[in-house]
């Protein structure tokens, strides 16, 4: 049985960790880019970012003063049991958001879209978002928070089968160039691409691909993984680096997620997870103990299933979650 005070504690801790500590996979990705970067200004920007993340961790202050939009992804084990239920779980996530906003402190970013009124705690109408998924055969709950920034850097377009892979490449370039100029997207970024689904699924898959998969984690479908590598190279060949300066550091990694779509269409979305790639995950075990990590492990084989039912995968992939 998992108590809701354990959930609040876990959610509060990941709110703080996400805001302050840059995930190691992203940090190593940026460090690797510094070595390859030939533009001197672009290299300077990347080095300054590394200094900034060190300062944030040392001082325990947020890495970026713009909080972005904190939100949650919850994966519930099929065998997990809650003392209070799911309404209490959602309340605990909202309470943790408000507490972290006051205590870190984080800039209260969330306002009503029309009246611009706010509660000064990053909680409000439809905020923070909570997305749910499930995992067979386990009794833990994973909670991930993502503080995605950026008013800029995401786009959606309905393409058609005739537009082909080249159509995806062109739209990918359009999005990176439009929002990369002057660094509006705060690149280099983990770029997520959603392909297929309906419009909302397409956006959701692309966003989750950017925010919930770590640098160096290819799609298990080898042909998709190949396209990921190709798009990454294409982005880094634009000739643009951080802040839109001449350079080669645009895409730290590219992640694609696909979903079955309308037979006539090929919707595509592109999302950039910025220089403050803030994510943190807590696993709450049945005995109430909590483990923290920076890899959300969101896209399990079960998430990517194509069949009606679910059969336990071969041993090699069952260790995934």
């Amino acid at each position: 049985m998992i108590d809701d005070d354990r959930i609040e504690e876990a959610a509060y801790q990941i709110m703080c960790k996400a805001a302050i500590d840059i995930p190691d996979d992203y940090l190593q990705g940026i460090k690797g880019m510094i070595d390859l970067e030939t533009g001197d200004l672009s290299a300077f920007v990347l080095k300054s970012m590394v200094d900034n993340w060190e300062a944030a961790t040392e001082d325990r202050r947020p890495m970026c003063a713009d909080t972005g939009l904190p939100r949650y992804y919850v994966k519930v084990g099929d065998k997990a049991r809650l003392t209070e239920g799911f309404v209490a779980l959602e309340r605990a996530l909202r309470a943790a958001t408000a507490r972290a906003t006051h205590e870190v402190p984080l800039r209260p970013n969330r306002v009503h879209p029309l009246w611009r009124t706010e509660h000064n705690n990053n909680v409000g109408l439809n905020a923070p978002e909570v997305e749910w998924s499930f995992e067979p055969d386990v009794d833990w709950i994973d909670i991930t928070t993502v503080h995605k920034g950026g008013l800029f850097g995401s786009d959606y377009r309905m393409l058609f089968p005739g537009d082909g892979i080249n159509g995806i490449k062109r739209f990918f370039l359009d999005t990176l160039i439009a929002f990369g100029k002057r660094g509006l997207a705060c690149q280099p970024a983990i770029v997520g691409v959603g392909v297929g689904g309906s419009k909302d699924t397409c956006m959701q898959l692309g966003k989750q691909a950017a925010c919930l998969r770590v640098v160096g984690d290819p799609n298990p479908d080898p042909k998709i993984a190949e396209l990921e590598a190709e798009l990454k190279e294409l982005g880094n060949n634009i000739g643009m680096g951080p802040m839109g300066f001449v350079g080669s550091s645009m895409v730290v990694d590219c992640h694609i997620e696909a979903g079955f779509t309308h037979t006539g269409g090929m919707p595509v979305s592109v999302h950039t997870f910025c220089l403050s790639s803030r994510r943190a995950t807590a696993r709450i075990h049945a005995d109430g103990s909590i483990e923290y990590r920076t890899d959300p492990r969101w896209f399990t084989p079960y998430m990517r299933r194509e069949t009606i039912g679910w059969e336990a995968p071969q041993p090699a992939s069952s260790s995934f979650a």
């Binding site: 300077f44 200094d51 993340w53 947020p62 003063a65 537009d163 062109r170 660094g183 220089l275």
Partner: protein, 226 residues
């Protein structure tokens, strides 16, 4: 300052900045500031330029550097303020107020995110002997937060709120910033944008436009969306 290896020129600038020091700034130079920096954005601009409220006494003598930002600040129990981090906001939206603001305040250094349009430098900043510094990254909130030593004063906090109030920060080794525009109106963003644009045609070779078009969209990739 940890970046001498990059070969970029660095400059530690004392505020209020003298005309000689400003003349030394070149696009692409790295700058750190010491002295007093003030924040002002649409709230303060409207208050002074549209509602006719007087500027705080002695502003010009105290600081000639206007930072486009909103701090993450919280009042402490002793009446002082705690500033966690600062991240600049995009400056291009403020150009309509800049001519009069520079005139009235004698501001010579504008600091923000992303620079302003090339024409704005030539038509607005250059005639007032002003230059533009951009923040780096742009997510260096923690580094910039470190450079703020104290809140020297805050004006119009009640009327405008934390985000829009005029904050005067006492800063030390505050940065890094990169010089975007100089006294001649040369712009680093513009020249780098031009160089990136030169490669675009080759990049798109063989990638046909999609079957379905969108209204109002530009096909000229040399353009900016801002």
């Amino acid at each position: 300052m940890g970046s001498s290896t990059t070969g970029l020129k660095q400059f530690r600038l004392k505020l209020p900045a003298t005309a000689e020091d400003i003349a030394r700034l070149e696009p692409g130079m790295i700058v750190y500031l010491d002295g007093i920096v003030y924040t002002a954005r649409e709230g303060a601009y409207k208050r002074v330029l549209e509602d006719g409220v007087a500027l705080p006494d002695g502003l010009t003598e105290l600081s000639n550097a206007n930072f486009h930002c909103s701090p993450a600040a919280a009042p402490d129990t002793d009446g002082s303020y705690r500033v966690g981090g600062v991240t600049a906001t995009a400056s291009f939206r403020f150009s309509k107020w800049m001519p009069q603001w520079l005139e009235r305040t004698g501001t010579k250094i504008v600091i923000g995110k992303g620079g302003m349009a090339r024409d704005d430098y030539v038509n607005i900043l250059v005639p007032h002997g002003a230059v533009y510094l951009t923040t780096v990254g742009y997510g260096t909130g923690a580094l910039l937060g470190r450079g703020i030593r104290a809140v020297h004063a805050v004006h119009w906090l009640e009327e405008l709120g934390i985000a829009q109030a005029m904050w005067m920060f006492k800063v030390e080794n505050f940065g890094p910033f990169i010089v975007d525009s100089d006294l001649q109106g040369n712009s680093l963003f513009a020249t780098h944008g031009d160089r990136v644009n030169q490669r675009l045609e080759a990049l798109y070779e063989g990638l046909r436009p999609p079957a379905l078009h969108r209204y109002g969209e530009t096909d000229d990739r040399r353009k900016e969306v801002m």
